[in-house]
Structure formats: C-alpha cells, structure tokens
C-alpha cells in the first residue's frame, strides 16, 4: 500500500506540471485585460503603463517560469517562515504572487478567505451527509414504499433545482417576508458569547441549508443504490437465517459494506468544499474562495485565478489519491500492489 501511495505521489508531479501549464496558457490566451473594467475616463496610454506595471509586457515563458518559482519555492518558504517564526536569507526580496486587483499576495487572500468557506461550505457538506444517510438507508430498506417515493422526488428536486433559485427563494421567504434571517453574511462577525454565536448560527442557516439540500440530494441516491446492491446479497440472507435482528442486519452488516463506495464518493467531493460553492457564496455574500475566484475572473485578475485553480487541481489530485487509499483500507479484498 505504501509503495502504491508513493508511486501515485510521484506520478502526480508531472500531472500537476502539465495542469499548471495548461491553466497558465489558457488564461494567458484568453482575450482578457485587467484594465478592461476600469472607467473609460482613464486614457489608453495610462492603461498601457498600468499593464507594464503589472508585468504584462514580459513574454509568456518568462512569466510562466516566474510563476512556477513563486508558487513552488517562494510561497512555501513564506509558509514555513510564518509557521516556525524564523527567516531565511533574502526573504525581503522574495517575489510573491500578487493579485492585480488588490496588489497583495494571493496566498494571503486565500488564507483570509479559508475560514468562512470551510465553515459554511464544509458545514453544509456535513449536514448534507447527515441528511443523506438516513434517507438513503430507509429508502433502500423500504424500496418502493411511500417514503422511498417521496425521498426520490425530493432528491430529484434538490438535484435539479439550482442553488441560485433555492437561495433566492429562501431569502424572499425568511429575510424579506418573515425577516427572521439576514440575507447578507457578515464576514467580520466574531463569536464571543452565546448571543453572538446565535447571530452566527442565524447567518449561516440559509447558505448551509441551500448547499446541504443540494449535496444530500446527490448523496442519498448514492446511498440508496449502494444499500440495494447489498441487501440482495447472500450474506444478508445468512445473517437473517442466523436469527439476527433486522436492526443489526441493516445497520451493521449491510450498512458497513454499502459505505465502501459511499465513502470514496464523499472523499472525492471534499475538494469541492475548498473551491467553495461559487454561486451560493455570491448570493449570500459569504465572500469565501468561490467568490474570490469569481471576482478574479470578472476583473481579469489572472495571477489570482491561476493560483486558485491550480490549488483546486492539487486538492482534486490529492483527494483522488486519498479516496483510492481509503478504498483499499476499507475493503481488504482490494490490493493495489
């Protein structure tokens, strides 16, 4: 297993290099201009100077190599410095990847955004799983019952109705009509006591539920299918024949085996948490990583978009690997070596 993990990690390096090149080249070739969104009152020669100042005058391969150096050497060194509190030589002159819009280091922006994305999107993932599991299990156990039919219908709706619709519907009901919940997420809010915690809960409910609904819809179908596969297996009949109670058969024998594919699906979905739920973050102004990406794309903030998309690529590859390894651990029949 260790050997396999190691081989996969080695293989990830060229993959990531290729991905980084493709991302860089694609964004570079896109007919986009960071000065495009500035007011027209700024004359063309000033725009040209701004572009020069952003480093756009340099040829493609030099900018790419610079970016590689900044991403793989300079930024990790900065992280190490910050973590351990000592300085390498020349840390003053070390070039960092800077956003064109904010002129600040991209990595700092990402670190600043991480908490709200992890809290809101991560929480929605957890809530989604908690909703999906019981629904999936009961739907499978009582296949074609009324509960199953309703569950199928609801998950179909949850899967096919986009979050920009459910989000706005919730806002209209709970913020505009009932005035119970805030429609705009306050990223500066700090939890210090019970009442401020309650404020935090109130502002998280809508974005979390919108996303959880969507996640649960997907996942519950998966749990149901996986449970159904196992319910007809011989070992289930054996367990029942041994006189075990239905609860034990269902929750110990069947569920455990059904969870093997489900867990890999859950692991594969984790990178999505980091990439943020772009639309939901935008609707509720959670202003996490997804919203950062959207602003970067709209403003042609190419270093920001390159870095963010590349980090997502790294996470996807990493969690693919984790899912594969988990699969091997959970199911001893599977061996990679």
């Amino acid at each position: 297993m260790l050997n396999f993990t190691f081989r996969r990690l080695m293989f990830a390096v060229p993959t990531l290099l290729v991905i980084s090149f493709i991302i860089f080249a694609l964004l570079d070739l896109a007919p986009n201009d960071p000065t495009g969104n500035l007011p027209l009152t700024i004359p063309p020669d000033v725009r040209e100077q701004i572009r020069e100042n952003l480093g756009l005058g340099q040829p493609f391969h030099i900018r790419y190599m610079k970016w590689l150096e900044q991403f793989f050497i300079n930024e990790p060194l900065n992280v190490v410095e910050q973590l351990f509190g000592f300085e390498f030589a020349g840390s003053e002159d070390r070039l960092r990847i800077r956003s064109w819009a904010t002129r600040s280091p991209v990595v700092d922006l990402i670190v600043e955004r991480m908490p709200q994305t992890l809290w809101v999107v991560g929480m929605s993932y957890v809530v989604g799983i908690l909703i999906a599991l019981p629904i999936g299990i009961i739907s499978a156990y009582k296949q074609y019952s009324i509960f199953d039919q309703i569950g199928s219908f609801v998950s179909m709706v949850g899967f096919s109705v986009p979050t920009f619709f459910t989000g706005v519907v919730l806002i209209v009901i709970f913020s505009v009509q009932l005035q119970w919940l805030p429609s705009i997420y306050d990223t500066t809010h700090e939890v210090t006591d019970l009442s401020s915690f309650w404020v935090q809960v109130k502002q998280m409910i809508m974005p979390v539920m919108v996303l959880a609904f969507f996640n649960a819809a997907q996942l519950s179908r998966f749990v149901r299918a996986s449970m159904l596969d196992n319910l007809n297996m011989d070992y289930v009949r054996t367990a029942r024949a041994k006189g075990m109670s239905e609860t034990i058969v269902l929750l110990i024998h069947v569920l455990r085996n059904s969870m093997i594919p489900v867990i890999t699906v859950i692991a594969l979905g984790i990178p999505q948490i980091f990439s943020g739920a772009i639309i939901t973050e935008q609707i509720f102004r959670v202003n996490g990583l997804g919203q950062l990406l959207i602003i970067g794309i709209q403003g042609a903030d190419i270093p920001l978009v390159q870095t963010l998309t590349f980090i997502f690529a790294v996470l996807i590859i990493l969690f693919n690997l984790i899912a594969d390894v988990l699969y091997g651990i959970l199911d001893p029949r599977i061996r990679y070596d």
Binding site: N53, R103, D108, P182, D186, I283, R285, N287
Partner: protein, 565 residues
C-alpha cells in the same frame, strides 16, 4: 490563539466606544453595500469606482465637486481662480492654500509636503498610477511654505483643476508612503490596505474583495462629525440583491449603482424601507458609427481611414438610423428613472448642453424612410434596402449586459421598419473594453458597423472629452489601436475648435466652443446619442444627509450623514 484574538477584539471594541465623544459617533453604525467589493484602498493603484469611493471615506482631495458640479474646498481653504490670484494670469500655474490645523488620523499635521509627495507618487513613471491623466502637463509641484502648494504646468491650462480635485486624486501621507514610490508601489500592501487619511473615517480592518470596517476618525477637523461611530463597506453579489438589502430587508443603509430593471426596483421600493435616489452626470449611452470599412477582406487596412464605410459614409443613412429610434421606449424598457432621452454627446453640465439637435427626440419613421428613398436606397424583395449591390446590413456590437441586449433588440426592430437589417453581437466587458492587441473584439478596433457603450468624463470640464474626436485620436494599427475616436471622424474645422478650446479661459467662451463641437458631431452623425444615463442608488429612510452626486464620489459628504430619529 483564537482566544487571544477574541480578547484583543473585545478590548479594541471597548477602547473604541470609550474614545467616542458625545456628538461624534452618536448615531451608531452605518452599513453601506457596494455590489462590487473594494479591492484596494489606494485609489492611485485602482481606477475602479468601488475602490475610489471606499477610500474616499478616508482620503480627501484638495477640493470636491458637489452634487451640482461646483467645486467646494475640502483640504484647501478656498478654490484658486484667476480673480483671487490663485491661478496665474498666463494660466500656467495654480497655487493652493491648505486649511490650517488639519491633522492626519495618526495625529501628525498635514503639510504642503504631503501634497507634493502625492503628486510625485502618482507621476512616477514606474508606478502605474491610475489617476495619471489628472496630472497631464504638470511640470512641477513645489511647496512654497508649510501650507502652500504651487503646481506649474508646461502649457497654459485654462482649466487647471486636474490635480487633487475630486476623489480620484486625493492626498496621501508622505510619511506613510515614502518607501512605496514607483515600482515599489504595489508591494506596500499594508499602506495600500490601510491608508492614513484626513477624512471623517479611518480604516479598522480591510478584507480585500470583501469588506472594509471603519471607525470615526478621532482627529477629524470638525469635532461634531461624523455622526456615525463605525461603518461597514460590504461588497459582492449583484445589484438586485444589494437593492433588496436596503429597500426590502433594511439590513443596509446605502446601496450603490442599482442597475436593476426599473419595474423590479419600483416593486422593491414599494416596501417603504428605503428611497431610490438618482443623479445625472455626463454619461451618455451612444451608438458609435463606423465611418470606415470593417470588411475582413481588407486585412491590415480594415477599419482604417483608407477605406470609407460602404453605406455609413452616406449622411442620409446616418440621419435615418437616428430618426428611426424611439429613445423614450429605450429609457422606459431599460433605465426608468436612471435615464433620460438625449440628443447630445455632451449633455451636461447645463451650460454646455445644446438644444440644437432636439429633432432626434421624436421618432419619425416616415421621414427616415423618405431620406433613404431620396438617397437612392431602394427596398429589395426581402424588404432590405440596397443600392449598387450594397445592402443596408449592420453588424451591431456592444458589451454583455442584460439592459444593453434589451436595447439592441429594440433598436433592431426599429431599424427593420426602415428596411435596415441588423445582426446583433455582444462581447464580454473585460474583452470589449480591454486593450488586448491580439483580440479582434475590442471597442477600439471596432470591427463592426455600429457599437454601443457609455462614456463620460471626470469632473465638469469637457475639454479633454471633446478632444476625443479629433483626427489624431482615431485608433489605427500604427498607434496600436489606442485612441478614443471610435467613429474615425476627421474634420479639420473640428480639430481647430478643439485647439482653440485649449487656449480659451473664459467659461462662457469655452461653453460656446464645446457646444459648437457637440453640434458638429451630431449634425454629421458620427455618433447617435441615445440615453443620458443617471446614477441610481438607494438609501434607507432612516438615513439623512445623502446628497447623491454624479460628479464625484457618492460618499463625498459622508461626514454629514446621520440617522433620522
């Protein structure tokens, strides 16, 4: 770690409340929402309105423009003019006197050196300063004494109020930014995110592309202002939900730039929690008429003056296209209170507005048809007019934006009534308005017959704006397509008027010249103006003192804002 930050935060909150005096900060918290989030609080490094206006709460220029476009002193004690001796008789220098006793929010005094530094900071060629055009022709900025600054121009400047008038070019603190000159400018993240200012508020925390938190500046020169102790400048989302947060849920006090369908906005305003406010500056949504041939077969000479346009070079066609448009319908459908019909490319300030082109205000399809008939454009079997094998078929491009696409569709319909065929195209704004040399879709290259967008000018003086349509401004491959004369209009007489305006100081004469130039362009039909666009914002009914301003930052008088009781 977590507990420490929490403790610090609560300690800071305590310190803040105890520091606030009786009058100042008596109205609590102000919530502002801009659906474009602030990226940086140094306006010299960003031309975005969101960045300029969020920093305008902190940084101040020497003078503002008020809601009527008049200059009012901010850090200056008065507006220099030729009459009061502040502007030299030969128009080559202007001398500003600073108000006495102004201090920065860190307690140090504001001096003329800060003003000199700000000018040098922006004029550093390696800095990529966005407000550089405010400093055109400035040859020297010097401190005469501690409170006097003299700005010298290389040429006579009839309107010497470019530098430090309006929030695009405020005064920054020399002590704070001294290590941030030129190429170093973008690396000064701390300074760019938390500039020390003289304005009514100071930055407490800035989360880039998200939210700015301010508190009242304890050193602000008027001890009774601002009325709000703290303020938040939240960003992100879209215009409709920003409008909702003020007009329907009342979570926010002020929302900026609500480009929302008029009926949607009216419905939200009916909830009674907020008011929609508009003001009109100089923005005009116009059709640019390509007077050159954009045919791809022409290769490098495409859309250059060498090849006149096959049919738009006919004045009758240009006039007919304008006559066929019902501008009121366009206003009602896409702009509502935020738009007015206009027939001028220079609609404001009032002294510059011409009334000679008002024929365009009423749609006249019959007259348009007659013009085309007389000019020999006959309808073919498909209803489209043609002459000598040239069909009146127009490629009409604009940026991607739902209101613009609505306008496009309406105009297409109106033109089909006079036998003109229209093909519509929309291009992403960052591409269309971007200057990417490799893209064929920029508004400068103008590889289409008609294009639509809005343009305006900063401040109240139209000299530079009207100079956009001189011959030399035409974008060509030779000047890397950098130019503002999209129609490629070229008229010696117009160039002469433009040069004359550069030498004329008296306001009435300048107005007469600008009006004449506007009428020339309109008569010729180089542009077809459609809508005089206003700015739309909304504020809560509990917020008082908002004076909606199109000539400067909308937050220009935020020190006077207060909570109604």
């Amino acid at each position: 770690m977590k507990i420490r930050t929490l403790l610090l935060a609560s300690a800071a909150a305590f310190a803040m409340t105890s520091a606030a005096s009786a009058e100042r900060g008596s109205d609590g918290h102000l919530n502002i929402i801009y659906w474009q989030a602030a990226s940086i609080l140094n306006p010299y490094l960003s031309g975005g309105t969101k960045d300029i206006e969020s920093s305008s709460m902190v940084l101040e220029p020497l003078a503002y423009y008020d809601e009527n476009g008049n200059m009012v002193p901010a850090l200056a004690s008065e507006i220099p003019t030729v009459e009061n001796g502040g502007v030299s008789a030969d128009l080559t220098s202007i001398t500003w006197k600073l108000k006495e006793g102004v201090v920065w929010s860190d307690g140090s005094p504001l001096t003329a050196n800060d003003v000199v530094f700000s000018a040098n900071y922006c004029m550093d060629p390696a800095g990529g300063c966005n407000a550089l055009s405010n400093f055109t022709d400035v040859s020297n900025v010097e401190a005469v004494d501690n409170l006097t600054v003299k700005i010298t121009f290389g040429v006579p400047k009839p309107f010497p109020y470019g530098p430090f008038v309006g929030t695009t070019a405020p005064i920054i603190q020399a002590a704070q930014f001294k290590d941030c000159m030129g190429a170093k400018a973008p690396e000064c993240t701390d300074q760019n995110f938390n500039p020390i200012g003289t304005g009514p508020f100071k930055v407490v925390e800035f989360k880039a592309n998200d939210v700015v938190t301010y508190e009242a500046n304890p050193m602000y020169r008027d001890p009774a202002k601002p009325a709000f102790a703290t303020a938040t400048f939240k960003g992100g989302g879209d215009a409709a939900s920003a409008a909702r947060s003020v007009l329907e849920t009342g979570e926010f006090d002020y929302a900026w730039n609500l480009q929302v369908e008029p009926e949607v906005l009216a419905q939200m305003a009916a909830a009674g929690k907020g008011k929609v406010v508009t003001s009109f500056g100089t923005s005009v949504e116009r059709l640019m008429v390509n007077l050159t041939n954009p045919d791809p077969a022409l290769g490098d000479e495409r859309a250059t003056a060498k090849h006149p346009h096959p049919f738009l070079s006919d004045p009758a066609v240009r006039r007919a296209l304008s006559l066929a448009i019902d501008r009121q319908i366009l206003v009602d459908a896409g702009y509502g209170a935020a738009g007015q019909v206009t027939c001028n490319v220079l609609p404001a300030p009032a002294i510059y507005a011409s009334t000679n082109n008002d024929w365009c205000k009423t749609q006249d399809v019959d007259a348009a048809n007659k013009l085309l008939d007389d000019a020999g454009w006959a309808r073919g079997s498909d209803g489209i007019r043609a002459k000598d094998g040239v069909r009146l078929s127009i490629l009409y491009q604009t940026s991607t934006n739902s209101v613009r696409q609505g306008t496009q569709a309406l105009i297409k319909q109106m033109w089909s009534a006079i036998g003109v065929e229209t093909e519509l195209r929309n291009i992403d704004a960052a591409v269309f308005f971007g200057g990417d040399q490799s893209s064929p879709d920029t508004f400068q290259k103008f590889f289409a017959d008609i294009e639509m967008y809005t343009n305006n000018f900063d401040g109240t003086d139209p000299e530079k704006y009207m100079a956009n349509w001189i011959c030399a401004e035409a974008p060509t491959p030779a000047n890397q397509w950098l130019g503002n004369n999209m129609p490629r209009y070229c008229n010696e007489e117009y160039d002469k008027l433009s040069a004359e305006m550069g030498k004329t100081a008296a306001l009435d004469d300048r107005a007469a010249l600008a009006m004449k130039m506007n009428d020339m362009l309109m008569d010729f039909g180089a542009m077809i103006p459609l809508i005089h666009r206003g700015d739309v914002s909304a504020h809560s009914v509990t917020l008082e003192g908002v004076r909606m301003n199109s000539w400067d930052s909308e937050l220009w008088n935020i020190e006077d804002w207060s909570r109604a009781n």
